[in-house]
Amino acid sequence: MAEVPVSWFLTLSAVLFVLGVSGFLFRRNIITVFMSIELMLNAVNLTFITFAYQLKQVNGHLFAFFVMVVAAAEATVGLAIILTVFKNRSTLNIDDVNSMKN
């Protein structure tokens, strides 16, 4: 078998996405939570590229490109927010940032 099944790529994408979700849910450091979001976006990108291959269309690549651009913008703003939170509260633990609770 010289050719890779498409489903392997999609399954790898699912594995990476689930790992991203688990990092998002289980980690308490706000920077690691943010990195888990990037991991999920990467997994979705892999799905887009795989479907672009399967349908022999370039549109999937464009979607992946826009996801990348939005992820870069999101990282910029998110890290600025993290800086501000740390400046005001001196903590990176998301359990301690709960002033909107109650």
Binding site: V4, T11, L12, E38, Y53, V58, H61, F66, E74, L79
Partner: protein, 165 residues
């Protein structure tokens, strides 16, 4: 050959992704995430997405992760403290995630049982093809993206600047 390439880089990606989740220090997570992104770039090349593979290395592994590592070093983020979490998370979290993975993998196998990927099977991912689509069909989203980036730059400056007395 394709299978070997896929397996090697898929395993690297999964191991690095697990490392991202289990490492307790943010720097280790960030370096592992660069490993995930690099091996995904190789898989994009395998799928014929040359431009996206290059953009993945430059934008993600280069720019975004350097930003992350800057912030980690700037804030001097240490090892995270593990606190007690709710019983429901401890009991249900991992089984539910494995169930999600199982459902996703099951439907993927059911829906695409026979289609395969070989290197060179799709050659439409060059910079030429991407550029042509980007400046014809996707011109409006492209221009809106520039506004989005402008807003992001302004937002980052406003959030991270020093308050003026």
């Amino acid at each position: 050959m394709d299978v070997i390439l896929f397996l090697v880089f898929a395993i690297i990606a999964v191991v690095c992704a697990i490392n991202v989740v289990v490492q307790s220090h943010p720097i280790s997570s960030a370096v592992s995430l660069i490993g995930v992104m690099g091996s995904l770039a190789i898989l994009y090349l395998l799928l014929g997405a040359e431009f996206i593979a290059a953009a993945q290395v430059i934008v993600y592994a280069g720019a975004v992760m350097v930003l992350f590592i800057f912030v980690i070093m700037l804030l001097n983020a240490g090892t995270e403290v593990r606190k007690g979490r709710s019983l429901m998370v401890q009991v249900l979290g991992v089984p539910l995630l494995i169930a999600l993975l199982g459902v996703l993998a099951f439907f993927v196998q059911r829906l695409y049982p026979r289609s395969t990927v070989h290197f060179g099977g799709f050659r439409g991912g060059s910079a030429l093809a991407i550029g042509r689509a980007l400046f014809t069909t996707y011109l409006l989203p492209f221009e809106i993206t520039s506004i989005l980036i402008l807003i992001a730059i302004l937002g980052a400056i406003v959030l991270a600047r020093k308050e003026l007395e």
